[in-house]
Amino acid sequence: MTYSYYKNMQINNIIFVYQGEVTADLVSSILQMIENKLEGEGEDKKVKKRVFNVMVECLQNVYHHLDALPPTDPNNPVKDKTALLMIGREEKDYFIITGNHVLNDRIPEVKARLDRINRATKEELKQLYQEILTGGEFSEKGTAGLGMIDIARKSGQKLGYDFHPVNDKYSFFSLEARVSRIPDKG
């Protein structure tokens, strides 16, 4: 059993995986740990910074959005703020994957936002970023989608996503961001 977990992670190039409740302290600890790992393995400085930046946005995005789920809802598949966080390293890319439950009602909005980001050119992403930065009101939590745009800008690649139906009310949303290990790409 243990060996198959190990093999699975190795085959899929996963260097870190976490499933469980996501708290601010946990996010801090993971960031610290991965940062040390990147540091210790002598990864290119620019790549390291980009990976770290994308990781911060992805993890904080999950952390903030878990709050949106009504925990007392009997259809809610998770009673606490659990999510999946995964970090991998392939020959050419780092990848950061997050997974968390979302209300089905929210899917069209999230999907539209991601599609818009994926269609945008580098210059359009920059404009979009500035529009949101100077326009929309931010709450203590949400940054009106700025995080996703920043992830796309730092990644320089399309964002992968999926909504896996769980029940009538909820789906499992996964987001994958890639960062090239070639410093001048992206």
């Binding site: 960031l31 910074k49 930046n53 911060v56 903030h64 970023y129 930065l133 995080g147 745009i149 730092k154």
Partner: protein
């Protein structure tokens, strides 16, 4: 007025706001979950300072990383400095970045384009 000094943590920057010595600096990393909460003191301090500023205010930013929730609050800080400048005071925002950090240079340029206040990009 009282100086504001905040020591850095793994998620928040070092802040020095000292009107006696004319030192205005934010440096390090800024990745708190609640940026508005962290920067409230800084914004309040600036509002107070703006009532009787020094003849010249040179505000240094030297950030290693910052998250998008900080990016909005940074703009709020810049807007206050812009207001000070428009009110006829001498204000310079100095955006320091590591010479090989193109992303941080670009971020500085983004802000520069949005603001109407002297904004210097300084590779270090």
């Amino acid at each position: 007025m009282r100086n504001l000094v905040i020591e850095p943590t793994s998620k928040t920057p070092k802040v020095i706001l000292n009107a006696d010595l004319g030192i205005f600096e934010i440096s390090g990393r800024s990745i708190p979950e609640d940026s508005i909460g962290f920067y409230r003191k800084v914004l309040d301090w600036l509002d107070e300072y703006s009532k009787g500023p020094l003849p010249e205010t040179v505000f240094k930013f030297h950030l290693e990383y910052f998250n998008t929730s900080s990016s909005k609050v940074l703009l709020d800080i810049f807007r206050r400095l812009e207001r000070l400048h428009k009110a006829g005071h001498k204000v310079v925002i100095r955006w320091l970045y590591d010479a090989d950090d193109e992303d941080m240079a670009e971020t500085g340029q983004d802000y520069q384009a949005l603001l109407d206040v002297p904004f210097e990009l300084v590779p270090v």
